[in-house]
């Protein structure tokens, strides 16, 4: 077992425009990327449970050329609107950092 941040080169989140949020997890090499992919920790089901967001609104793309996994979801609140707490969407990856990867 290892935590996701111990395996990843970069974990981050950011607005993809003011209406969407996108999370990137990048790995140094193909083997680590494959290990995390096959562990299934970043799946629509797991992500939906962790973030409490409906499965059909989650888009997960595996980007082999960069050994990267990208998760994109609608922002629950538009950037900077009443009640938004993260203008740039920069701290929305927090719950992924300590995820246990088999």
């Amino acid at each position: 077992m290892a935590k996701l941040y111990e395996l990843a080169k970069l974990i981050r989140s950011k607005n993809a425009g003011p209406f969407q949020l996108t999370i990137d997890v990048l790995f140094e090499d193909r083997a680590t990327y494959d290990r995390v992919l096959s562990s299934g920790v970043i799946s629509r089901e797991e992500f939906s449970q962790l973030y409490g967001t409906p499965e059909d609104s989650i888009e997960i793309t595996n980007y082999e050329a960069a050994n990267a996994i990208k998760v994109t979801i609608p922002r629950p609140v538009i950037s900077g609107d009443l009640g938004d707490g993260d203008m740039m969407g920069g701290q929305q990856y927090g719950p992924l950092v300590d995820l246990e990867v088999a």
Partner: protein, 458 residues
């Protein structure tokens, strides 16, 4: 043998006003760029900049960066292109950039042709496009109608390469554009000069944040790219910085919903079959990018409207008894404060006021997305009052701070003080709140229709 054809781009910084080292720019100029291109704004800071027409960086910050860049560009007699100049790229903000450039030119006795691309289309034009079905929603877009255009304080269309190219065709040496896609600023010239679309657009995406694609970015600084027929190479001019295949790949994904499709006004960049190779310990070669031109040009619209005026109150809670019932305690504070609003202003005003509690130490950062909304040993409460005027927001802020300070819990008998205020007075006027109201694209008949290009002999 014919020398390899290449186009060289210098991107001085992530944003005009964010800064760069003059030494790094000087070194980059020795690499003989064909253009200096830089982004000047963003939607990152939220809807305030578009709504208010204000600045993100100060005039002094903007002036310093523009001055060093302009002197370098004019000295080498190469074009300088600035996109989203500045802040949100509205017409008032563009005027600030134009004024600064004219002022710098005057000081240094520079003479050149300046083009300014205004990106706020007339409201009547937007309404006509909406009626003609030429405005379409993007993902997660709010519902709109013609009144959305009337209510907005500012609406900008994002320029693609076309306005830059039209300005360059008209002989401009310096182009300042209002709201623009980041990549268009960098792709405008190489694609106009017939360089391969895939490498040009992909290099443009990598260059848009200056040195953001290096391994460890300690401060904003320049980035340099060489675009060739079937690949491009990036290398930072700053000797303390280096690019790696992972750092460049990571910027390909940055702030875009899809990792390998970047939709631009006149086509889409695909980077699914790309290879990132280290050329040295600091330069990376990228090949395999392709760009598919679109049949019709579309420009993204951004709009912002005023929601109200805010006053905030910051207070901390350390008592475990209160923290164990934080939700109901806050509900009680709101109810009591609302009774007070009705006493002062009547129930109509009560309906127009929003009271929000952000709870740092519970879910202040993630809100509804937070998986573990469990209170920490202390919690920071940020009370936010949003009202139709600043005066009313301030008045309700004072009242709510007082209610919260002494709101009781059933466990104790007698008066308590429940909120630890770090400031006197506890309430802080915060100013206007704006909202982004558009996530749509407009399809113009002619790609230049939404824009107005002004040429000035400086």
């Amino acid at each position: 043998m014919e020398a390899t054809r290449e186009f060289r781009i210098l991107s001085p910084s992530s944003m005009i006003g964010a800064g760069f080292r003059a030494e790094s720019l000087e070194r980059a100029m020795e690499w003989k760029p064909d253009v200096i291109a830089c982004d000047g704004g963003s939607t990152d800071p939220g809807p305030y900049l578009l709504g208010s027409g204000g600045l993100y960086f100060s005039r002094e910050s903007l002036r310093r960066d523009l001055e060093v860049m302009l002197l370098a560009a004019r000295g080498a007699d190469i074009p300088m292109l600035i996109g989203t100049a500045v802040a949100a790229g509205g017409d008032e903000q563009l005027a600030v950039a134009v004024e600064l450039v004219q002022d710098i030119a005057k000081q240094h006795n520079l003479h050149f042709k300046l083009a300014a691309v205004n990106c706020e289309p007339p409201r009547e034009y937007l309404k006509e496009r909406l009626r003609s079905g030429k405005i379409r929603p993007l993902a997660n877009a709010p519902e709109i109608d013609e009144s959305t255009f009337d209510r907005a304080d500012h609406i900008v269309a994002m320029a693609g390469v076309e306005p830059y190219q039209a300005a360059l065709d008209a002989g401009a040496d310096v182009v300042l554009s209002g709201r623009s896609t980041d990549a268009a600023i960098f792709a405008a010239l190489p694609t106009q000069r017939g360089f391969a679309l895939g490498p040009s657009w992909h290099a443009a995406k990598i260059l848009e944040c200056g040195a953001a694609c290096v391994v460890h970015r300690a401060y904003a600084d320049p980035m340099f790219a060489w675009i060739r027929d079937d690949h491009f190479v990036v290398e930072p001019p700053n000797p303390d910085y280096r690019c790696s295949p992972v750092s460049v790949a990571s910027h390909t994904l940055y702030e875009n919903g899809s990792p390998y499709e970047l939709v631009e006004p006149n086509g889409t960049l695909y980077s699914d079959a790309v290879t990132f190779e280290a050329m040295s310990d600091r330069a990376v070669r990228v090949s395999g990018s392709r760009f598919e031109p679109a049949t019709n040009t579309t420009n993204k619209l951004e709009g912002a409207e005023l929601v109200g005026y805010q006053t905030i109150v910051i207070g901390g809670v350390r008592d475990p008894v209160i923290l164990r019932q934080l939700d109901s305690w806050l509900e009680g504070v709101e109810e009591t404060s609302r009774r007070r609003i009705t006493q002062i202003y009547g129930s109509d005003m009560n309906e127009q006021v929003t009271i929000t509690f952000r709870r740092y130490g519970v879910d202040g950062v993630m809100g509804s997305l937070e998986p573990t909304p469990t209170p920490a040993h202390e919690v920071g409460i940020l009370i936010e009052i949003t009202a139709p005027s600043q005066e009313v927001a301030d008045s309700i802020g004072k009242a709510t701070a007082h209610v919260g300070a002494h709101y009781a819990v059933p466990e104790y008998s007698g008066l308590i003080t429940a909120l630890a205020f770090p400031y006197s007075p506890a309430e802080i006027p915060r100013g206007p709140l704006y909202r982004f109201t558009l996530n749509h694209v407009i399809e113009p008949d002619d790609p230049l229709d939404p824009f107005r290009i002004e040429t000035i002999d400086v």
